[in-house]
Structures are given as C-alpha cells and as structure tokens.
Amino acid sequence: MSITLQWSDWLAMFGHFLILSLLSIGGAITTAPDMHRYLVDRQHWLTDPQFNASVAIAQAAPGPNVLFVALMGWHVGLNAGGPLTGLLGVLITMLGILLPSTTLTYLAASWGHRNRNLRWVRAFKQGMAPLVVALLIATGWILATANSHTGPGSNVLQNWPAWLLTAISAVIVWRTKLHLLWLLGAGAMLGWFGFI
C-alpha cells in the first residue's frame, strides 16, 4: 500500500490523536475502535491487517500496551514513504496520544499530592479502592474473552484450554512468587505447539 501525505494530513492526524488522548479514560486501548474508523475506514492510510498487527504486536511485546499507537504511526509512515516517514509517524501519534493526558494527570497528581490530607481527597481515593480491584479483575476477564475469540473456535466452550491457562496463571501469580516470565514462556510454548 502506498499513499501520499501532505503536511496538512500529518497535522490533521496529530490533531485527531490529541482529541483521542483526552477521551482515553481507561487506557488508550479504549479509543482503538475510533482509530480504526479514522485511519482505516475514513482516511485509508492504514490497511486492516496493519491495524490488527499493530495491536497484536504491542500486546505481545514488553512494555506498555499504548505502544500499539506508535506502531500505527509507524505503519502509516511506511505507507507514505519509508522508514524516515515511519519514524515521523511514530513521533506524531505518540506525542498526540500522550501530551494532553500526561499533562492533565501531572496537574491532577501534583494538586492531589499537595492536598492529600483534605477529607474529600482521602474519601475519593479510598472510596475508589474496591472499584480499582474490580476493574483489574474485569480487565483480565475481558482480555481472556477477546483472546479466546481469536482461537480455533468462536464458541467459548471450544476454547476451554485458553480459559484454563488464564485461570491457572491467575492462581499461580496470586499465590506464588514464580517469575512472570516463566509463565509467559510456558504460554508461548503451549500456543506455538497448538494446544491453545
């Protein structure tokens, strides 16, 4: 796929990611559907396989999952020229997705830290605790569901090995101090040989 991007197009993409950044409550991945709509469906700057690969690689790679955004910028840039425009794409998408949200978080965190003894600041932080715990467990659940959809069958029951692996990993991490890399390695091996 080969496309031509003007400076105005780069700027438009930057602007779009700035807005998505402010909407990305719950993580950048929550705005992935809109990135698909904008980059693939509307602008035709990115193909469907490139979009999916960007998300999958960032999930499998070490580091924060937000790097899938960098890979989208990289692929758009590659389509528009080569490795140099690819790096420009990385710069534009990452700055766009991070600048507004990190600025806002920084201001909120420093304000909250200065006022950490105010009663309602404490009430807010401690009141959120049960929800935070539930959100983490729910995220694991949602990832397991999404993951099992990519397996050999669309039916959840057909993908019981993947669910079992998720459950066993959860219990091992919860109850033991085994290094997480062993578990990920075991998961990769089981998947490579077609058990999952």
Binding site: A53, L104, H113, L131, A162, T166, A170, G194
Partner: protein, 191 residues
C-alpha cells in the same frame, strides 16, 4: 496513610535510578506492565504499600491516557517532582518503543507462520491471568478500607458485573459507582 517523611522507608535514590527501574519494569511487562509494577515496586523494592498502590492506581485509572504511563508519571512525581515524572515516563517508553519497532520488523517476515500466531495467543491467555491476579492480590488491602469489607465487596462485584459482563462504558460505571463509593467514604471518615 501516606507517610513520605519516614527516613527508613525505601525510595528511589536518583533520577537515573527511577529511569533504570522503570525501563527494567517495562521490559519485563509482556502483555501489560501493571502486574510487574505491583510486584516490583510494592513487593520487592517497597517504594509504596499495597494501600498507596491502590490509591495511585485509582487516580491513574480515572485520568485519561494509558494507565501505567499515568502511574509511572505519578510515582516519579512523588519523589522528584516534574523531573521525576519525566524520568519515570522516559524509562517506561523509550527502550520499549525501540523493542516494539524491531519486533514489528521481525513480525513482518513471519506473520504467516501458524506457530507465531499460536504463541501470541498463548501469551495473551497468560497475560489475562496476570492482570486478574493483580486484582486478587489487592483484595487484602481492602480490609483496612474505611468502608468495611462487606460494602467494599458489594461495590467491587457491582463494578465487575457492569464492566466485564454488561460491558457498560467505563465512564458511566466510574462516575456512578465512584460517586457512591466516595460519598459513603466521606461520611465514614467524619466519624
């Protein structure tokens, strides 16, 4: 409560320590960094307690932006202000960005191999378990919560059902249950 003035409490020695620590955290975080952050910073380095981790994570979660990026920013800021925030942020992103770009180059060569797709799926299943386990570990910290354990569990179950089973938008769940939980806690703290 948070007590940053305790001199015996372990904490990052310098900006370089922050940068290197967060780089190493990020590079161990396959399929998400959160499980590693909790294990390394709370259980091993003891820079923060389970309770503090939950509080910071709660704020990181409701702010827009990638959660672990927000979390690293906030932890860096606790110790060294703006410079700490930038050091932690740079640690979390710089080296992993290079790695992910290299992987994209490699992946382009092997995308059609069935073993590669299977391995990605296997790692995905484990990663889902890691995140859920992080939540399970933090259950213990709720025992010290001013809301009391029964109310905490009720709120947690409602939140799980709303997000995982009903798939409601996060904004509504956090606004609704968060307001309720915050108000209840506010009243308890008075007494």
């Amino acid at each position: 409560m948070t007590n940053l003035d305790d001199p015996k409490r372990p904490q990052p020695e310098s900006l370089t320590d922050l940068f290197v620590s967060f780089t190493l955290l990020a590079l161990q975080g396959f399929g998400g960094v959160l499980a590693i952050v909790q294990r390394e910073l709370v259980e091993k380095k003891r820079w923060m307690t389970q309770g503090e981790f939950i509080e910071e994570w709660g704020v990181a979660q409701i702010m827009p932006g990638p959660n672990v990026v927000n979390l690293s920013l906030m932890i860096g800021h606790r110790y060294f202000g703006l410079r700490g925030a930038l050091a932690a942020l740079a640690g979390m992103l710089t080296v992993p960005l290079v790695v992910v770009l290299l992987l994209a180059l490699v992946y382009a060569q092997f995308a059609d191999h069935p073993g590669v797709a299977g391995a990605l799926r296997g790692m995905g299943a484990v990663a889902a378990g890691l995140i859920a386990a992080t939540g399970l570990k933090l259950l213990g910290a709720l025992r010290n919560n001013p809301l009391g354990l029964p109310l905490c569990i009720t709120l947690a179950v409602l939140c799980f059902v709303g997000i995982a089973l009903l798939r409601l938008p996060l904004v509504y769940v956090l606004l609704g249950l968060g307001t309720l939980a915050g108000t209840l806690t506010y009243k308890r703290l008075e007494r």
